[in-house]
Structures are given as structure tokens and as C-alpha cells.
Symmetry: C2
Subunit: 301 residues, 2 copies
């Protein structure tokens, strides 16, 4: 039995894909429910310009709210995504516990997102990550499109390996491998992790899968078997990446926790509370969500 | 790389769940598309009384049609599900290649379906299976609710082991383990298969999963890793069992084949043709189906 860490990213990777906005009050209510559910880390939002991503406009306000008024669960880490120095500056002022930042393994995806090559982006992100650590904050660096790219197709294992090596050389070991386009298959997960986990024995690897082609939970189980114990997921299966060709939701948190609990892993997440929240999200967006157990209920034996 | 056998059960396990009937002509057209897609076995229907399952009323006609007029793909095996001696008698008269029959591992499920205990049902099915073999037909025997029961919850591994042993003692080695209620988790699949595969080294095990709780493909991948190479699945993810408490569709054939092909397994199934059929089914039933890739398209690299 392994202790699993759940990093809930629905408030960021989920909501940024949704046309219908969520009010500040509703966001606060949903984050309170997430805090109450027992997930380990909650990604509150990203520090992007509200003109480009209006769904993330309240990110600073949300962090200020939860820093000022305290939280109903002090053990939970609040994370924020930063894309550049300006975002980092904002995040350092409003109470972010953990900063997430990264580069894409795909040159095309990198250029579309950042107007930089992978190497240029890497130099910049490593510098930002070290500055963040110097400010005494938790840092997670990521490799986006690590399992394939909506524009380019295959991404070489050696390309991911090279980026992870750069992170490790800089002393950064909290690393997320993100399947931004949802292309990963479980055999590929095994293969990539086999290579990556050999790089350094102190690596703290997170996996972030999307369920675009239905393989999300299969990929999580493969990663678990390889030794990964931290997963990023979205309640109700919200999510997707607006900058890739085909958007598919994140792995659904309550479905993932349900699977992990049924495979004998240890999480203190309360799926009943996540199911209630997923139902609220389905009502808010007025559509059937990708998640399964918010419809069927969890198996309880 | 392993040669995978796909047993397409949408025309039976899928359609029996759907309220809206499918006409004989449409069924013929869909089966022709399945024949053309390259799946290995197609379950045409079940020999039940049309009063109870009107969706299966044309089963004899369909077999007669494909026996009389020939098929556009002679390599494909046509299977039919039989529940009792009367069904077997009908099936032997209309050109079934392969007879599927089985018992539930759950006493409650068995009694609700057959008014018999598991042992009574087993005695009857073994007798029927041997008669079918004597008639020179292929026989597959199954263990339904092998991974959990919608009524009873957990099913002991020893119960499944006992049933498989009874089959093997009778010389029946083509055995399907069916997750009728969709309760299986990938770790459980490993555990059950580890026990079952030890029973006899000539076993030909098929796995039949439902995607009720989202774990369908994860379970297939675990079964594959354990050595299983035959899978039952439904195009578009049609299906479910009307006799269990919560009905969830079968694993979606085109999603499964897509995953298998992406994990380097060998199937000669054409997913593009299955996607076209899944779209027709979605149009016919006028709803979004459980399958993924009929919406996104397959990854082609």
C-alpha cells in the first residue's frame, strides 16, 4: 500500500477550458469543498493576463482570500501556475504555497504557447524556479506534451529525458510529466517512466493525464505500478488544454481516487464529497461531465 | 507483440440494453460493417424468448441470413449466446459457429437470472457445453459477475476458481471471465488472473469488462499484461446488463483496439471502420455514446 498524493487541478486546468465563467463566490465555495474533501494540493488558478484567459481573472483574489481568512484544512497546499516572471511576481505577493511552472517537450507547442524554443523556455523556467525556491516556496517544474503533441505527434523519450536532466542538474526534483494532448498509452507510460526514473533516485515525479482517448485511468495505473504516487486530476473530469488541437478533460479526480482506493492504495480523500462537488459542476455547466462515479455512485465494499 | 482476438458483443450485450429497437435490415447492415472491420468474432444475438428481450427477436433470422447468403469476410466467427437447452436447440438449427454460455459466480445474480443456484446452473451448463461440442461447434463457457456483483458486492476469488475448475475438469478450456457489473479494478484483475491462469496451462481465457466506473481500459491493459489476448467489447461502448443493479456499457471496441494498437499489439481491426459504425449507432440512438475516439478520431502515428 502506497500513500498517494492528489493534486487537484480542476479550478485551473478545468475552468480555463470552460466558456461559461464561474463567479468568485462560487469558486470560493468550490475550493472550500475541495479543502474539505481531503485532497492534498489544490491548484487555485494561473497567473495569466485576464484579457487572454478571463476564467483565471480572480486568481490573486482567491489566494488572498484563503491566506487572509485561513482555510478549513491547514494541511492542504495551495498551488498556482505561473507562465512567466510577471506571473511569479504576482504569485509571490498573494500567498501561493507552491508554484508550478514548466516547458513543453514539443517545439511547436512551446512556440505557440511562449514564442520560445524549448531550450529558451527551459533556461527561463529553470531561472524562475530557482528564484522561487530562494523565496522559500515549494516549486514543481513540468514537462508538458511529454507523451505526444497535438501538433507534432510523437515526442521522443530522449527529449523528455534531456529536459528532466536539465531540471535535475539545477537541483529541481519535483517534476510533473504532463500528457497535455492525452496521447499517452499505458505501455508508453511504462517506457517513459522507466527511463526518467533512472535519472536520479531522489526524483519526486507527478503524472498528469488527460482522458481524451479514454486511457486516463489506465495510464495512472501504469504510472502507479512504476512507482509514481502523485497525480494531477480534475473533479468531474473538467479540463483540457486550449492550446492543443483536440481538447480532452483531465483524468477525473473522484474516479481516480475510487480506482486507487479499490486497488488498495492509501488516500484520505472522501469521494462522497468530491461526487457532491462534481454534481454541482455538472449543474453549473449544464452538461454531462466526463467523470463516471458522480453518476453511478462509488462502490463501497 | 501479441496477436489479439476481438470478440465484438455490441449486437447482443449492447442492443439488449437499448430501449429503441434496431430493425432487421439495420442489424444486417451493422453486422456487415463489423465483418468488414476485421474483428475476429461477432456475437450476433442471444437465443432468448422475444417476449422477454424483444431486442433479440431476430437472432435466428440473422444467423440464417449470414449462413445462407455467405459473408463478406469468411474468417470471422459468428457467435450466439444461449441461456438454456431451448436456446441451444434453436442455435443448432440456424448456423451458429460458436456458442457462448455460462453461469454467474454470484448466488443472487444466478438466482435472479435462472432461478437456480450456482451449482445447479453449473451442472446444466457443463452438460449443454459438452452436447454443443459433440455437435462439432465451438464452445465458450463464462463466469459472469466474476469480479463483483451488483447485488452481493464482493465475489471470492475461490468461488471463481471453483467454477473454472469445474469447467476444466469437464474439458472446457475456452473460458470468459465477465465483469458483468463493472466492479473490477486493475489490481483485482491481476490477482484473479494470477489464480485462474495457474489452474491449467491450456486455458484460453477471454476477459469481458464494462466501463461502469471508468476502469474498463485499465482492466483490459492489466489483463493483457497477465497474458490474456482475447477481449469482448462493444462498438461505441454500447451495452450493460439489465439484470444487475447499475448498468454500464461494455468496454468500447474501437477505444480498446486503439489502445492495443498504440501499445504495440497486433490486431488487424480497422478502427476507422468501427468509428463510422459507432457514429451510426450514436445517430440511431440519438445520444452521446460512451466511446471516445468516435468523437476525437484515432491517433494515427
Amino acid at each position: 500500500m502506497k500513500k498517494i498524493t492528489i493534486h487537484e487541478v480542476g479550478m485551473r486546468d478545468g475552468l480555463q477550458m470552460e466558456e461559461k465563467l464561474v463567479s468568485l463566490d462560487t469558486k470560493i465555495a468550490w475550493i472550500n469543498q475541495l479543502l474539505d474533501s481531503g485532497v492534498d494540493i489544490i491548484q487555485i488558478g494561473s497567473f495569466v493576463h485576464p484579457k487572454y484567459v478571463p476564467q483565471m481573472a480572480e486568481t490573486d483574489d482567491l489566494f488572498r482570500h484563503f491566506s487572509a481568512s485561513g482555510r478549513n484544512n491547514e494541511n492542504v497546499v495551495l498551488s498556482g501556475l505561473v507562465l512567466n516572471e510577471k506571473g511569479l511576481e504576482r504569485g509571490l505577493k498573494c500567498g501561493v504555497d507552491m508554484f508550478c511552472m514548466g516547458v513543453s517537450a514539443s517545439e511547436t507547442h512551446s512556440f505557440k504557447n511562449t514564442k520560445m524554443t524549448v531550450d529558451e523556455a527551459l533556461t527561463r523556467i529553470v531561472k524562475m524556479a530557482l528564484e522561487t525556491e530562494a523565496a522559500d516556496k515549494i516549486v514543481q517544474v513540468s514537462v508538458q506534451s511529454a507523451f505526444g503533441c497535438g501538433y507534432e505527434g510523437p515526442i521522443a523519450v530522449s527529449q523528455v529525458e534531456r529536459i528532466v536532466n536539465r531540471y535535475v542538474d539545477a537541483g529541481l526534483r519535483n517534476i510533473s510529466l504532463a500528457d497535455t494532448a492525452g496521447h499517452a498509452s499505458p505501455a508508453q507510460v511504462e517506457k517513459l517512466l522507466e527511463t526518467v526514473l533512472k535519472i536520479d533516485d531522489q526524483l519526486d515525479i507527478t503524472c498528469h493525464f488527460h482522458n481524451t482517448y479514454g486511457m486516463g485511468l489506465a495510464n495512472c495505473f501504469s504510472a502507479l505500478k512504476m512507482g509514481v504516487t502523485t497525480f494531477e486530476a480534475s473533479f468531474a473530469g473538467l479540463g483540457g488544454c486550449p492550446f492543443t488541437a483536440i481538447a480532452g478533460g483531465n483524468v477525473c479526480t473522484e474516479d481516480l481516487v475510487h480506482m486507487l482506493q479499490r486497488t488498495g492504495q492509501s488516500t484520505h480523500v472522501n469521494v462522497t464529497k468530491l461526487i457532491a462537488l462534481a454534481k454541482e459542476a455538472a449543474d453549473h455547466f449544464n452538461r454531462e461531465m466526463d467523470g463516471k462515479i458522480y453518476k453511478t455512485g462509488a462502490l463501497t465494499y
